[in-house]
Symmetry: C2
Subunit: 309 residues, 2 copies
């Protein structure tokens, strides 16, 4: 799957992943109105609105981008109906041949991590049959529990030819609280660097053609750290959140890429999916929200191209 991701990035010339993180306040009124008139102001109504919103965005941008990253929390908050909308979104994106990165940030001890891995990337056994639960192509994984929390994901990745992105340095303001702590037995290097080293190790024995199935998450908001981490994990794809709304700029992104122009994929969520609410795209009416998203994808692609050239 890492090979497919790299292929699609080359083909689209867009190292971009669009974060499908719908919030009710992003969804244009004509969509919520229709959903509520059909299902009422219920969890089902919210889920209906979310999927209709996602679908129109995907229909308008799928040819420009290699991948999407639905954030499961934004669906999970609407309980079971929300998770049904998550699953429908995953399936619809796969129909459109997009690579789907489930942003689930799961991580637990052995047998429990195995259950998450099986449920999101692999097949679960029921009697004599087996089924895919959510069936994303990649998922994000939290490393706090160490190797026996991550290895079950790697095992399933090998079986299913899928991949993971491990949280190394996250984009949020307080990410340094624990991640930046200097480790006395590691030459005072910060925790995130040691996690990065471990990502490189985990990735060694599950390589695609040029990059590993085991990637990393490093926030665009910390470009200097990205520079170091790029070297620590040369064969790991870096998923870079924090571009746009969180403050990361195109110029900051250079450090996350390798000299081959590959090695990183940059996420934008509300910057794309709620583009029509921004001053810059105010010429698009709410009815044309997905066209605004398309324009925002093109602008982002050019911004990154400019920064890398």
């Amino acid at each position: 799957m890492i090979n497919k991701l790299v292929e699609k990035i080359k083909k689209t010339e867009a190292p971009i992943v669009v974060g499908l993180d719908p919030m009710m306040k992003f969804i244009p009124e004509h969509i919520t109105k229709k959903a509520f008139s059909e299902c009422g102001e219920t969890l089902e109504g919210a889920a209906e609105a979310i999927f209709a919103y996602n679908k129109e965005i995907i229909d308008n941008i799928y040819d420009l981008i290699p991948a999407v990253k639905p954030q499961i929390a934004m669906y999970e908050q609407f309980g079971i109906p929300g998770l049904v909308a998550f699953k429908k979104t995953v399936d619809y994106c796969k129909e459109k041949d997009l690579v789907v990165i489930g942003d689930i940030k799961r991580g637990d001890i052995g047998s429990t991590s195995e259950a998450y891995a099986v449920g999101h990337l692999g097949k679960v056994l029921v009697g004599s049959k087996s089924y895919y639960g959510f069936d994303e192509d990649f998922v994000t994984v939290n490393p706090y529990l160490g190797s026996d929390g991550v290895n079950p994901f790697i095992k399933v990745c090998k079986e299913e030819n899928k991949g993971i992105f491990v949280l190394v340095k996250t984009s949020n303001p307080s990410s340094g609280e624990f991640q930046d702590q200097k480790l006395s037995e590691k030459d005072n290097r910060p925790l995130y660097e040691i996690v990065g080293e471990q990502v490189a190790k985990w990735g060694e024995d599950c390589m695609g053609d040029d990059y590993s199935y085991v990637g990393a998450v490093v926030g665009a908001t910390y470009p200097e750290m990205g520079k170091i981490l790029r070297k620590v994990m040369p064969k790991s794809y870096i998923l870079v959140p924090g571009y746009g709304a969180q403050g990361g700029k195109g110029a900051d992104l250079v450090h996350f890429f390798n000299e081959d122009g590959l090695g990183a994929i940059v996420n934008s969520s509300r910057g794309i999916i709620a583009a029509y609410q921004q001053e810059k795209y105010s010429s698009f009416s709410p009815v044309d929200f997905a066209k605004a998203s398309r324009a925002a994808v093109i602008d982002m692609r050019e911004d990154i191209k400019g920064a890398l050239s």
Copy 2:
């Protein structure tokens, strides 16, 4: 909710939480057979079997224990039908007046953590109405992303009078890989201790009568660390996994409790729910599996009582 948990622990004289972490291999054949005959060997069939299994266990032990801890991964692996069984389990346990700790180990950046908090502990807004998604009483939270990942949970806890347990030192063998790293700017104390300090701080401004709404997870498999963490977080309830199947013994548990005999709640999962598969309870036939669970709860209660007296 922390007050209710403490009250129920006092009343039952059992600082025990039963981990409802069903695996297909635990479920007696007569239950899976019935479920598969009704729903086929499908995800729905697995979910049906899981709920029937849980229900019979709960019916046989609810009067002895204060709380249950369903591990969501074990349900999530069966996709949407699995999560429906999770929700049914949560609801059924609450009907039986058990405190429900959702073992979800979520954690993300600001607005995303807020979505998890709202979905699992609070109410989500849909138009002019609001709904509970999963509605557990407590959830477990991963601290790797720092304060702005945890604060949204605390906010919802205050609004809803609920609580969280933050992962501090987990019970698994490789938990030390990152959690035990010594921090040079913190007098060479290990990361888990600094996380524990932060748990105490987070908990300060959301206190119940004697204990905080913000608790911690510390594995029974590391009793010496538990001893230190008990002092670092005097007002935090400690949720202690790793008793029984993972190797933690009653005698190891003393350090996790305060002098008032409170302050800790010990989890056992397969040791209780799959008791009938153990040599010790082999006098119970698979049909009487839930009676074996009841016997195992009583033995565990006495084991802990003995250790604490």
